[in-house]
């Protein structure tokens, strides 16, 4: 058994050889201006020519495109090839997509994170398709003895109208493969796109719906051992002693090994390892403060008033503005730690051999996994391979390499191929959480209700900078101070889908709603006035596109029929993140005295929409993720240990709890910006502000479910 991924890789190579002389296109992605190079199958098979992206057209008319970035559910394995196919004028039904493995010599930015893959690769992918099309046309022109300018293409076919000649791409693949590619290639007019902007189904639908082995957890290698690992049960503990005698004597157990603060039970099946792990007797000792959530609340309060803050942005004279204010509004918002909870728990395969290392598994950063393996084993990177599997969600958790590091350690110690598997409990209690943060907002209004001063202090636990100091409303307020304080803790944190903004956006957009109300203004009009100010007389640098933000605000207002629906309580929110703009209107209806979240209307500007079906679902899923965690997500600590360890204690949103999500994309022809994350940040604010309209109660802490005012909402 092997993963589909591995099989596909081989298939691709086979296709390359079988097509014998088909068209192969490599691209130097490290420099988008570099001339594309055309080579034949021999070169690709021998790996002697340096390429960064492969597009191949076989003489059988098949088209194969390698997608280098990890697929975690964001739809990249469908979107990337779609862009190439558009410029190629390919018949989409003939396109086969293959997941690339780690190959830093040929690909760059093989990362899934920051909603950055499409913005990074957009032009490169288009050029790949356009160049191949150009070569096919020239090959046909030479054979037919007609001017290349008279040849048209559609659905993987070439046509010459005057002579009535036509051919498939496959017929000219070999001849095109012998031509030299132009250094400069003309791309399509975006208005003529035929595939981009359509709804195209996920290329792996069939494999997913029939249970094919696609994911890291599905990978199996003959002779492979399983490993479950006991990590310290609390953050701040370190290993003192291990008694593994009972565990070692249990059926199926091959060995128990220790590295750093971890104890790995290695055996022949997951279940046998799990039972033996439970039989380990381990003593720990304190290495750092064992913090509880109560400690964190105390730390927040103390640092908010007394912490030494790092100034992130300062405009004008804030103290003077607040002194002269007719009205001052002040509020604090707080969010808890959150685990990522991808449904496929962490896992990774490693085989440390005498001559190198093989790594296979779900990772958002394959290059990081390789780098860590190199450090542990001493092998140079070229002796270490990384096969990227499909991943059952990531949400930022798989940007870390801890699980890969573990697999390398264990394989090295037991000298065998090993797959490390985390149980759900391991996954939820294992750290790298979304950091807990408290924010204090202050706004100064003059007698006309204009915001003349704005202050934000963020205090976070292992949060780095918990603000996004250059985001709106920065630039729209003359006197502004944004600073932050960080508390260092043994509890590990890491990026969580839309890092920081996944909470900051809700807090800030809720606070702005409070300020608008205090100013006696409509929340949308209030924001638009601030944006007009940012445009006409900006306070300092403005690092977001004011017009794009105004456009999504207006679209959301129009599509939600803002302020004109009877019996519907609407709340507004807008945010800029990952280069994209999303405005949302939440709608709460009171039924039998009970406020119920009915709808979210989302207006999204992510530039050109590549795959309508995938994009629509990214937005809906992002909104569901955002409101789910805002309402229910809560991770608390006692003595350094998480109180929640599985989905019985940690609540994820379910189908009976979702509102309808109505999505509208702005059609502005701008090159694509991010979409994996930007729909999430505004969701919590839209809900909280709608809820306020219905109940006159502010929701200033997440999860909402713990707020007295929220009780009874569904």
């Amino acid at each position: 058994m092997s993963t589909i991924n591995q099989a596909s890789r081989r298939d691709f190579m086979k296709i390359a050889a079988a097509a014998g002389g088909g068209l192969f296109l490599g691209f130097n992605w490290s420099d988008s201006k570099a001339a594309p190079v055309v080579v034949d199958a021999k070169h690709i098979a021998a790996g002697s020519v340096k390429f960064n992206s492969y597009l191949s057209i076989g003489s059988d008319n098949s088209i194969t495109i390698v997608s280098p970035n990890p697929e975690i559910g964001q739809g990249i394995k469908t979107a990337f090839p779609l862009v190439v196919a558009e410029e190629l004028d390919a018949d989409w039904k003939l396109v086969k997509t293959v997941q690339g493995n780690l190959d830093t010599a040929h690909f760059e930015r093989q990362v899934t994170g920051g909603s950055g893959a499409v913005p990074h690769s957009w032009e490169r992918l288009r050029k790949a398709g356009a160049t191949a099309r150009h070569l096919l046309i020239n090959a046909a022109a030479a054979k037919w003895g007609v001017p290349a300018s008279e040849i048209t293409t559609a659905d993987s076919k070439l046509f010459h109208k005057a002579s009535g000649k036509s051919a498939s791409y496959g017929e000219f693949a070999e001849a095109a493969g012998k031509l030299t590619a132009p250094g400069d290639i003309k791309l399509k007019d975006e208005k003529t796109f035929k595939l981009i902007g359509q709804s195209v189904r996920n290329v792996d639908n069939k494999n997913i719906a029939t249970g094919k082995p696609l994911f890291g957890l599905d990978f199996y290698r003959e002779g492979m051992l399983f490993a479950l690992i006991q990590r310290p049960k609390a953050f701040g503990l370190k290993l003192k002693s291990v008694d593994s005698a009972a565990a070692k004597a249990m059926p199926g157990i091959v060995d128990v090994v220790t590295f750093e603060n971890s104890v790995a039970v290695v055996g022949k099946s997951t279940w046998q390892c799990k039972k033996a792990k439970d039989a380990l007797k381990i003593e720990y000792e304190k290495a750092a403060e064992l913090e509880s959530s109560e400690d964190h609340n105390r730390i927040f309060s103390n640092l908010m008033d007394n912490g030494e803050a790092t100034v992130r942005r300062k405009n004008g004279d804030v103290e003077a503005a607040f002194k002269s204010a007719a009205k001052v509004i002040k509020a604090e918002y707080q969010c808890p730690f959150l685990p990522h909870s991808p449904l496929e728990p962490m896992n990774f395969f490693a085989h440390v051999r005498e001559d190198g290392v093989e790594l296979v598994g779900p990772t958002q950063t394959p290059d990081r996994a390789r780098g860590e393996a190199a450090k542990i084993t001493g092998f140079p990177p070229e002796k270490i391979t990384v096969e990227i599997t499909r991943q059952g969600g990531g949400f930022g958790r798989r940007l870390s390499a801890d699980f890969a590091i573990e697999a390398v350690h264990v394989s090295k110690l037991v000298k065998a191929p090993v797959k490390v598997i985390w149980t759900r409990e391991d996954d939820m209690t294992g750290g790298t959480y979304r950091p807990a943060v408290r924010y204090r907002f202050e706004a100064a209004l003059d007698k006309n209700g204009e915001m003349i001063g704005y202050k934000l202090r963020g205090v976070g636990i292992n949060s780095g900078n918990p603000t996004r100091e250059d985001n709106f409303p920065s630039g729209s307020v003359d006197n502004l101070l944004i600073d932050s304080v960080e508390h260092k803790s043994a509890i590990t944190t890491g990026p969580w889908r839309a890092p920081i903004t996944n909470f900051l956006a809700y807090a800030e957009q809720s606070f702005i709603d409070e300020v608008a109300e205090a100013a006696g203004k409509d929340p949308i009009e209030f924001r638009l006035a601030l944006l007009e100010k940012a445009k006409k007389s900006p306070a300092g640098e403005v690092k977001y596109d004011v017009d794009r933000m105004i456009a999504v605000i207006k679209l959301a207002a129009e599509k939600s029929n803002w302020g004109k629906k009877k019996g519907v309580h609407q709340g507004f929110s807008v945010y800029f993140s990952h280069r994209s703009y999303v405005a949302q209107v939440g709608e709460v209806v009171v039924e039998k005295g009970k406020p119920t979240l009915k709808n979210i209307i989302a207006a999204v500007d992510c530039g050109i929409v590549i795959n309508k079906s995938g994009s629509l679902q990214q937005v809906r899923g992002g909104v569901v993720d955002g409101i789910g965690h805002a309402m229910f997500g809560n991770m608390t600590f006692k003595g350094g240990a998480p109180d929640q360890s599985n989905f019985n204690g940690f609540r994820l949103i379910r189908m009976n709890e979702i509102p309808e999500v109505d999505v509208h994309f702005v059609d502005n022809g701008i090159s694509p910006t991010g979409l994996g994350e930007p729909a999430l940040p505004p969701a919590g604010g839209a809900v909280a502000n709608a809820f306020y309209k219905a109940t006159k109660q502010r929701l200033r802490n997440q999860p909402f479910i713990n707020e007295e005012a929220f009780k009874g909402i569904s």
């Binding site: 249970g211 991808p342 449904l343």
Partner: protein, 153 residues
Amino acid sequence: MALFKLTINNRAYSAEVEGDTPLLWVLRDNLGLVGTKYGCGIAQCGACTVHLDGKAVRSCVLPVSSVGKAKVTTIEGLSEKGDHPVQKAWDEVDVAQCGYCQAGQIMTAAAFLKEKPKPTEEEIVGAMSGNLCRCGTYHRIREAVKVAATKTN
């Protein structure tokens, strides 16, 4: 350790395991049927859903010793060619994001529609709310069950 004889997807299998081993891990580790997924191990997420004599069960909490002569159906055996009405609807509606939970969702939906071929939306939501989808594809799961219901006769 004992030898368990199982009927899975109309085929005979045997596995030498301890009787308390959940069916999920026998399927995945011993028999190579990895379409059935592990998500939580405590029957909270539904990723491990299989059919036992046609009824949807959580294989992560079902000891292999209690399966007996019951017929097990996994996602690999739901249809021969991957063309069960639910599987077809899942593609048509383009449900999957990461796809990890979808085998469990499909197995839950297939068993539900067998019981209730023409469900109301409320019944669909009731039946499917036991299955978690971390990507949040719930709108499309709901839609796909509706579409599948039009295909199931």
